[in-house]
Symmetry: C2
Subunit: 261 residues, 2 copies
């Protein structure tokens, strides 16, 4: 499976002002495509730190690196400068992106969202992309997304406003990613047990892991209490849906059998 990393950018995350629901949402999408997110990281709006995280991800052989946030018009939106530094490229004014941003502000002016459609330096900034990158139109906001294909990996940069991030992902990223990842079936199933104690459940799961090597078993940690019923999350992936379904079904039956009072 292709190794994936997610880098969320923004001091508001590190100060606890904003809960990072973006990385979580994206991780769900990627898991359901059969992608393997190996690491999620949040860093400050700082070119050097962004670049460092990207380089680490590339050094690990990561095939897809997503950056979230830091794509807007403000001085602390530094993501693309970080991508440029990490990949040894320049930022260049991309004609398609410039046309896109101009068109968006024209539209927003008509809608009464902004006072003027003039191309200020702050707005133009969003059209400066790492050399060779593909501009991904943003159907909701003004900041385009960016897809940079390198020899060993793809760096995909999306804005941090959740509805913009999701819209670009769904319209521009999902289809391309599906093609690159290939067809792959990933399924998960949550099984409720009558057990109350994780230290007891873990022994049973140890045996099941040997019997079902294709299935990943994870007990959900819970607090202690009289009414607790521990759950186990089963996940498996493979080429054939019928096969993956069969593994999960057999594993679930075995859990029920072994945990029955």
């Amino acid at each position: 499976m292709a190794r994936i990393e997610i880098i969320a950018i923004g001091r508001e995350l590190l100060k606890g002002q904003v809960l990072d629901t973006n990385s979580h949402w994206l991780a769900q999408q990627l898991a359901s495509l059969g992608g393997q997110v190996k690491r999620m990281v949040a860093v400050d709006d700082d070119v050097e730190q962004i670049s460092q995280e990207l380089r680490r991800a590339m050094d690990q052989g990561t095939r897809f690196i997503f950056t979230l946030g830091g794509m807007g018009p403000t001085f602390d939106d530094q993501t693309l400068a970080g991508v440029a530094r990490a990949t040894g490229r320049s930022l260049v004014l991309d004609p398609r992106a410039l046309e896109f941003v101009r068109g968006r502000y024209g539209h927003f002016q008509q809608q009464g969202y902004v006072d003027s459609a003039e191309m200020t330096p702050e707005r133009e900034k969003m059209a400066w992309l790492p050399e060779g990158a593909l501009m991904l139109p943003n159907p909701v906001g003004a900041a385009p997304g960016v897809w940079l294909e390198l020899v060993s990996c793809h760096i995909i940069s999306l804005p941090g406003v959740p509805r913009e991030m999701k819209a670009i992902f769904e319209q521009e990223v999902l289809g391309r990613l599906r093609q690159l990842l290939g067809t792959h079936c990933y399924l998960e199933r949550v099984v409720r047990t009558p057990l109350k104690d994780e230290s007891q459940l873990t022994r049973i799961l140890g045996e099941l892991r040997e019997r079902f090597p294709q299935v990943y078993f994870k007990s959900k940690p819970r607090y202690f209490g009289r009414d607790v019923e521990l759950e186990v999350c089963l996940t498996a992936s493979g080429q054939e849906r019928s096969e993956v379904e069969r593994w999960l079904k057999e594993a679930e039956e075995e859990i029920h059998k072994r945990t029955a009072g």
Copy 2:
């Protein structure tokens, strides 16, 4: 300010099955103590990856490293093994921790939460701590927290069940941390403006940044719309509360003046 990193551990985070509210909550607490979280990362339940992230954090001169999750009785709870590997220590059976865990299961049996209070290998596992570490009692669950003080940094490991993490932080970590960080005042204030367009606001903030170097200005990115009113988050910290309050008040007044229609 002391550099801090948070490492959340658990495959469920990377698969998007669980939203990491723990790191967010902890970041809030640390910010209000004047600590500076520079990086938050989520990794898999894997000794080598946990150890790698800890080493990176130590190499960056991080003074406090928090690990969240992976402290329980199950085979995929690998955090303390990762801490041991990263710091070149062994895991040793800690007599105080053993007594604590035993006492908790005795209590849980009395409450009817578990069937037996017997010390199984899975339960005993939670009492194996990195050599030289301090056991932090868990007032809610069975897995103790761990505080490991090294020459250059402190590694503080807390369980991933949110109510256990919070309880140990509040009862065992907060007081110690306050002493180590020293008194420090950190304040934040959110200011609403009549502006609808971030590319316009950013210019004003650029000027304010020069005038108020003690204040950090961050506009909150928003989608475009007719009823949008952009907000600016101001944060500042210093030794004296009255001084920090004055900076924020003056900065807020200046924002109102410059953005007034």
